[in-house]
C-alpha cells in the first residue's frame, strides 16, 4: 500500500511506544500515533490526557484532549492539578509527545510567539502542558513537519526546554526527564548526538534523500554516518491507522 507523509509520521511515532508503560498524549498526530500503538503492538499502553483521563482506551480519535469518550474509557479520571502535580511532575510518565512551531538544533521548542513577545508577528496558542512535559517525562518525542521556518537557528521563545544550550544544560536546570530523544518529521527522524546534544538526522523515510532534510532545516544539519531508511509502514499499520482515522 502507498501512504501519505503524515501517515509515515504517525506510524513512526507509534513504533517508538514499544515497551513504554505510560504516555502523555496531545491532540493531532501524537494522539494518532499513541492510539495506533495501543491498537497494534502495545495494547496495555496507558494513555494519559491532560484533562484528566488516565488509561483512556478511545475507540476513535478524540475530538479534544477532554473528549467525553476519554473519561468514559479511562481507568480513572484525575483532576487537572493532580495530573500535573502527582503524575507529570514526579516523572511518572515515560513518554511525552510534543509538537512545535519552531525547534532549534538542541530541540528547544517554541509554541508561544513568532517575533518579539511584546509585538508579535504571529501569536501562537502558548505553553499548555508542554513545559512540564518537556521537563519531567522520561523522554520526549517531538512530532513536527520539517521546514526552514520550523527548524530554526534560534527559537524566538523557549516554551519547552529540549537540551538547552547543550551537554549538562538539563542537569543544571534541575529537569528530571531525559528530554527529547527523537524528533519525528515528514522526512525522517532526528536524534540528539549523545556527546553534543545536537540533533542529527539518523533516519530518512522511504523515498527521502538526506539533502531534502538538509534543505528543510534552518541550520547546517548533521547527518549520521550510519543513516538508515525507516521501514515503510506495513499493511497492518496502515490498515489500523486508516480505520482509526475513519472512525468518527
Amino acid at each position: 500500500m502507498s501512504w501519505e507523509p503524515d501517515e509515515m509520521m504517525s506510524v513512526a511515532a507509534a513504533r517508538e511506544l514499544r515497551d513504554v508503560t505510560a504516555c502523555f498524549v496531545g491532540i493531532g498526530l501524537p494522539s494518532t500515533g499513541a492510539n495506533l500503538a495501543r491498537r497494534t503492538h502495545s495494547p496495555d499502553l496507558v494513555l494519559v490526557y491532560e484533562a484528566g483521563a488516565v488509561g483512556a482506551k478511545p475507540p476513535r480519535l478524540p475530538l479534544s484532549i477532554g473528549d467525553g469518550m476519554l473519561g468514559e474509557t479511562a481507568d480513572y479520571i484525575a483532576a487537572v492539578p493532580e495530573i500535573f502535580n502527582y503524575w507529570v511532575q514526579p516523572g511518572r510518565i515515560d513518554v511525552g509527545f510534543l509538537g512545535a512551531a519552531q525547534i532549534d538544533r538542541f530541540a528547544n521548542i517554541n509554541t508561544t510567539v513568532i517575533g518579539d513577545y511584546d509585538h508579535p508577528k504571529v501569536r501562537l496558542p502558548g505553553a499548555g502542558g508542554a513545559p512540564e512535559i518537556a521537563a519531567s517525562c522520561g523522554e520526549v518525542i517531538v512530532i513536527v513537519r520539517q521546514s526552514p521556518r520550523a527548524f530554526v537557528e534560534t527559537v524566538d521563545f523557549i516554551t519547552s526546554v529540549g537540551h538547552g544550550d547543550g551537554p549538562g544544560s538539563r542537569e543544571k536546570l534541575g529537569l528530571i526527564g531525559n528530554g527529547p530523544t527523537k524528533v519525528i518529521t515528514d522526512l525522517g527522524i532526528l536524534e540528539p548526538d549523545p556527546e553534543t546534544c545536537e540533533l542529527v538526522l539518523t533516519h530518512v523515510h522511504p523515498g527521502v534523500e538526506a539533502d531534502q532534510a538538509r534543505e528543510a532545516t534552518g541550520w547546517e544539519l548533521k547527518v549520521a554516518d550510519d543513516l538508515v531508511t525507516t521501514d515503510p509502514p506495513t499493511d497492518e499499520e496502515l490498515r489500523e491507522l486508516r480505520e482509526l482515522v475513519a472512525a468518527r
Partner: protein
C-alpha cells in the same frame, strides 16, 4: 453567614455578582464550559475584566472580541482541533489586550493556592523557559530543607468563579462529573461564585469521579439547560464539533464577528 446557595436567574446572578474591573474565571477543561454565562457577561456589557482561564476558547474569543476584557491570564489559547482564535490573536498582536501567561501546571497550581487560602504554590517548572522573563508572577523559591531551587506562583485572587455543572439540588449543593478540570478550585478560590447547571434535582446521587461543591461555598446556582453548548456535558449532550469549526470563519472576519455580536 452563608448557609445555602441562592437559586436565581443567570441574568440576576451576573448583574449582582460581576462588577466592571473584576478578576473573573470561567473554567471547564473542554468539558462543561460555561458558555451561556460567558455570553451573559457580553450581553450585560461588562468591561475592564481580568479574565482568567487555562484554555481560553471560543467563548473567550467572544468576550475579548466584544471588548469585555482588559487583561487575560491563561496558559493555552486556541480553538482546539480547529486552529486559532482570531479575536484573541488580533487583540494580543495589536497590544489591545494585556496578557499574563503561564503553563497549565502553573495555572493549575495558582488555582490550588487560591482554594487553599495560601498566597502562593510551589512547583518544579519553568526552569530554562522564556516564560519567567515575560511573566512577573513566576518567581524562584528555595527549599528550606534541601536548598533546591523551585518555582513559586501566586494565588489568582479571583473575585468571581464561574462554572457549569450537571446538577444541583434545591439547597444549592452542586455535583459535576466526568473530566472536572480545575472547577472545584475555581469556586473555592473565588470570593463569589456562579454555577450554571443542566438541571436542579431533588437529590444528588453520588457518581464516580464527581466533584461535589457543598451549598455553603456556592453563591448562586442558575438552571441553564444547554449552558455548556457547543462544548459537552457528560450524560446530557455531546460536543458540537461543527460549531467549533464554524466559529473560525466568524472570528476571522471583523464584520462577521460584529454581525454575530448583534444576534447575541
Amino acid at each position: 453567614m452563608r448557609t445555602h446557595a441562592e437559586i436565581t436567574s443567570l441574568e440576576d446572578a451576573v448583574a449582582d455578582l460581576v462588577h466592571d474591573g473584576d478578576i473573573v474565571a470561567l473554567e471547564g477543561f473542554t468539558h462543561l464550559i460555561p458558555v451561556a454565562a460567558g455570553q451573559e457577561l457580553i450581553r450585560q456589557r461588562k468591561r475592564d475584566l481580568t479574565l482568567v482561564r487555562m484554555t481560553p476558547d471560543i467563548v473567550y474569543d467572544q468576550l475579548i472580541g466584544a471588548g469585555c476584557a482588559r487583561k487575560l491570564i491563561f496558559s493555552w489559547g486556541g480553538n482546539p482541533g480547529v486552529g486559532s482564535l482570531h479575536r484573541f490573536r488580533e487583540a494580543i498582536q495589536t497590544g489591545e489586550l494585556e496578557i499574563e501567561e503561564h503553563s497549565h501546571a502553573g495555572m493549575a497550581n495558582r488555582y490550588v493556592a487560591g482554594a487553599s487560602g495560601l498566597p502562593f504554590a510551589v512547583m518544579r517548572g519553568y526552569n530554562g523557559t522564556s516564560l519567567p522573563e515575560h511573566t512577573d508572577t513566576i518567581k524562584p523559591i528555595a527549599c528550606p530543607f534541601t536548598g533546591e531551587q523551585l518555582t513559586a506562583v501566586p494565588a489568582l485572587g479571583l473575585d468571581v468563579g464561574i462554572i457549569h455543572a450537571q446538577q444541583a439540588d434545591r439547597q444549592g449543593n452542586v455535583q459535576l462529573w466526568g473530566q472536572t478540570g480545575v472547577q472545584k478550585e475555581t469556586v473555592l478560590g473565588a470570593k463569589r461564585s456562579i454555577v450554571t447547571v443542566e438541571e436542579i434535582v431533588d437529590e444528588l446521587v453520588p457518581k464516580p469521579y464527581a466533584v461535589v461543591l457543598p451549598r455553603w461555598v456556592v453563591t448562586r446556582v442558575c438552571e441553564v439547560p444547554g449552558g455548556a453548548k457547543p462544548s459537552y456535558a457528560q450524560d446530557y449532550y455531546d460536543r458540537d464539533n461543527d460549531a467549533y469549526k464554524a466559529w473560525d470563519a466568524i472570528s476571522r472576519d471583523k464584520e462577521k464577528f460584529a454581525a454575530w455580536l448583534e444576534t447575541l
